[in-house]
Symmetry: D2
């Protein structure tokens, strides 16, 4: 951390700030320019409150150097993390295809789709049992019954199952009945929930908040990891911008940037990013080409009557064709990268 | 709701869509232009999934007319809601001043500040017992002990108390021990939590999410009200934009817009909006002038050593001077509006 | 400027970077921590390309300390700039009210409005002769004829006149026929135009770009001032955000922040910020209360038939009533601030 | 266009609005629901001012159906436009690689890079003669001398040349000396400049504004086309968001969306989008995979000493390797799409 003082700050003030910082066990290296003084803080500055330092009238600016995330940081864990779930791997060069309907509507609906997406090339099965809806009057999911249907589908298809959980209670009750717990975008900074999944042993698919910075995204993973659960997969699903013709703006740069900063895998959700079915394939291609560790795609056998997100769902046959193309693309990608 | 069809859509397709909509108990009024057909949907269209309709290849666009919020809607409740808490009123022309430290750090600290802000003109006492922090390594609040300290301060000062709760469990345990439950910006769409406070009898201060639209803000209140708790106060606290010199961008237009759409009160949080102490007074003046129902201000007796948000806290004496000015401003405002 | 090196950077690399910087006449002060080295750059670093330094593999981060604007900077010009135009002052405690129609449509229309706004309390007259329209098929303004009408209106009312110019040619031809040249939001970084008005002697009203940061806003003024024209007035007119119920999001914090950084006056445009007539008064009140140096308001005698921006225009009588209220508010404000 | 009236609007008001609209030669189709009336407007509504209609107290909402762009609209020109420049094609399945330094610094520098990028696989040569810089104190380009150097490089390499022009004067003087005129992001809504290049016969590379919506982007092209110049190529170069770790946020969805709406080609600028050299290749891969018509890449033989944008420039050898990979990717893409 660096503290820059205003022009002409006197020795007394400098001395007081130095003392304040040193009290916290941090070494101070002083740089005196002709007019301006700079303090370099050496040591663990993660607990220092930048804002407080900036309140000091003599302080011009305080600048962080150290990144506040540790467990998620590639600097301390150079190799890619590979998460192994029931024989299916996420990360480290594998391309994971997660598919299924937005909401589990009935046993019949989910079973049909589950078999179809397996057939089509998915290696994880997704479905919503608890649905976060902007309106209290919209369908809120089948709850416990939904989890049971997912378990049946897993038995039938052999695919590991992923579902979103929205509260600590749900994690406590159902957290060990699924293979991956999804944390939704609107809960990315629901710290109570992050702590709860941190205590769980079940891997976590962490979706980026609608206006979360990369640093906040990494810090949300850090919350989970600090709790003891190191199996976190990032999911970029589009951010909110001024553009309204797409549901969100897919930020593909998240893939190379997060990869550079963290060892954890990152997948892309083209369905929520674009919000419309004809954008799913182009965005999935971009995901594969930029090196994402996978995609999570909404598939529905009857999108026009889906209870949620029908407009962004693919038909099983469209999904299967897309997967074939993505696989060709992926194969060439690995050849290119040797 | 209006459905606009593409140029040259044939009768058969039109007929199918008409049937689909009518099946949901909604009347369809057909407008045929020279080239383009439009359906006007009459009835309760709140459960209709716009996205699904848009999936139909023949559909150009679907447009909402009805607002999806009901209980929060001024159309159905023209008079201002006034929330009466222990003799203190929020809304309907009263200007509420909520003040206190970001975090409760100790009995001594909180008592000192509580007395000072009462002296300075506050009519509600705020303080954080459970702190949502972006880093798992930052101070997370005193928890239960914090609630107890607040209760003591209430006894001492007579001021009603407000604190943020971050989980359903906290609401269950402590929801009836405070006068107002605050829902933080990062939890504005934590639907599980909204449902829980909806079951509570304690009034709710609902902060706007960092990138929540007005409609989402209103829908979050609707969640709480749909659960049975109609005592909701909105709090505009700045939204996230590209500008980084301020912590957030205070959106003052939220006050007249929300007021037009809803009967619920709305206050402004100048501390989080600006993120720096010297912005608190100008933003509070703007809040008063634009007709907000109050402000919520962070005050600390020793901001330089505050455990959280020190840089945006006012000293008690600065707070008191500001309140005096705001009161003069408010008085003139009511004269103007006569 | 500060250069932070990566952990374990060797002496040779450090030496090379030091040399590179010193070649540009800048002194380097070296701080060596246990693991990390920091360079403090002392001297005029405004021409140093941060990006290039960051390209060096050994460099972790480069951080600016100096602000890149000089002539607009309050640090070098502590007193408020007051711009005196034909006896009307902008800045330094005066509250300027600029009013008139979006577009000049005819002599009759403009004369009628000009007299009405003078009567209503305006001290500057605005009107568009050259209109920046998002569609090439929309009304583009009366051009030269519009300037002539403004001149007549000035003669009639005695009010100084303001109009937007969109190109260097317009500034050359008409720049000295108006009292203030307005640079529109979409041209805030039209550097060719900024240079041209920099050569003019006519004061400039500089509108903030739709997504311009404060620093870019200040730098746009710097462009004009560097060209020799120091009479620049900032105009905050709302920024673009995800919120679509208002045309733009008025960023009131711009007033105290810009004031702190610069000595130039700053006014607010409530008409474009909100985009709808019923928002003009509340936003104008906020502008007055937060200490803006004035407002610029669209007024039309027949808004329903206005050729542009009718929906955000006030009727002359509504404008006059608003000005009365604002004046009361302003008077109290000055008493408060003593 | 659709006009939705408020509940209970009376016949007289409806009649007046009907008359007002019909006066403009537009047919009105009336839909009467139990409580609400809707007008469907049939005819060319492009000149109707939505805002004005919305001012009417009886009007709830006005909604556009028609898209305001015509010449750029794929609806009226279903086939891809292919722009043929000196034997090099843009659009219609060709993948164009535009490369060169940000700024032309000297004959030697530009010649060296020109030959290198040709060797590396570029089919267009770019370079800045007139530089839009946020600071008036930064290098502003070689101007006329830069154009001359480009002409030499064209003679030497045979590659068509692209350069940005920032004013009508530059277009007049130099517009026919280059093969493509670039309109920069900050000038996307410099309507005066758009009109000027509209009169030119030289093809235009139109960059998306930092916070321009897709519709505004299309309308900017419409301005140029309405002037008579139909050879417009879109360039997505990243938009401004709250994320600061990348220079801008590349919005890859622009490619499929713009393609669906318009017949004009669209290329991607990975250099400005990411703002850092190690992001150029991943973003270029995404561009190729999502079906962009090309990329425009900054290349410099000595990025550390570049006068502008060094940090986002590739070395010629890195560029060449990237082009090879992109070509493999493109080849597979065409096989996939058969």
């Amino acid at each position: 951390m660096i503290i820059v003082f205003k022009l002409g700050t006197n020795e007394e003030t400098l001395g007081k700030v130095k003392e304040l910082v040193e009290k916290q066990g941090i070494e101070v290296s002083v740089t005196k320019g002709a007019q301006q003084t700079i303090f370099g803080l050496i040591g663990d500055t993660s607990t220092i409150n930048i804002g407080q330092l900036e309140m000091n009238d003599a302080v011009e600016k305080v600048m962080k150097i150290q990144e506040p995330f540790k467990k998620a940081n590639r600097a301390f864990h150079p190799a890619d993390s590979v998460i192994n779930i029931d024989g299916q791997k996420i990360g480290g060069g594998h391309f994971t295809i997660i598919a299924g309907p937005c909401a589990i509507e009935s046993e019949e609906q989910f079973m049909t789709i589950a078999k179809a997406v397996k057939e089509g090339g998915a290696n994880f099965l997704r479905g919503g049992a608890f649905k976060p809806r902007t309106s209290p009057y919209s369908f809120q999911g089948l709850g416990k019954k939904g989890i049971e249907i997912m378990e049946m589908a897993k038995k039938e298809t052999g695919l590991p199952i992923i579902t979103e959980m929205m509260s600590a209670k749900q994690v406590e009750k159902f957290g060990d009945r699924v293979d991956v717990i999804q944390i939704g975008a609107r809960n990315m900074q629901n710290f109570d929930l992050l702590k709860e999944v941190g205590k769980s042993k079940t891997p976590v698919l962490l979706k980026r908040g609608l206006c979360a910075t990369y640093e906040e995204f990494l810090m949300a993973a850090e919350y989970i990891m600090a709790g003891g659960n190191e199996n976190v997969v990032f999911c970029e699903r589009g951010i909110r911008t001024f553009e309204s013709w797409t549901r969100n703006t897919l930020d593909v740069s998240a893939v190379p940037v997060i990869r550079r900063k963290s060892h954890l895998p990152i997948v892309i959700d083209p369905s929520h990013a674009g919000g419309i079915n004809w954008l799913v394939e182009p965005l999935s291609r971009a995901a594969a080409a930029i090196g994402a560790d996978g995609i999570t795609v909404e598939v529905h056998n009857n999108p026009e009557e889906a209870m949620s997100d029908g407009q962004q769902s693919l038909l099983p046959e469209t999904f299967a064709k897309m997967v074939d193309k993505i696989n060709v693309l992926r194969k060439v990608m690995s050849e290119i990268d040797g």
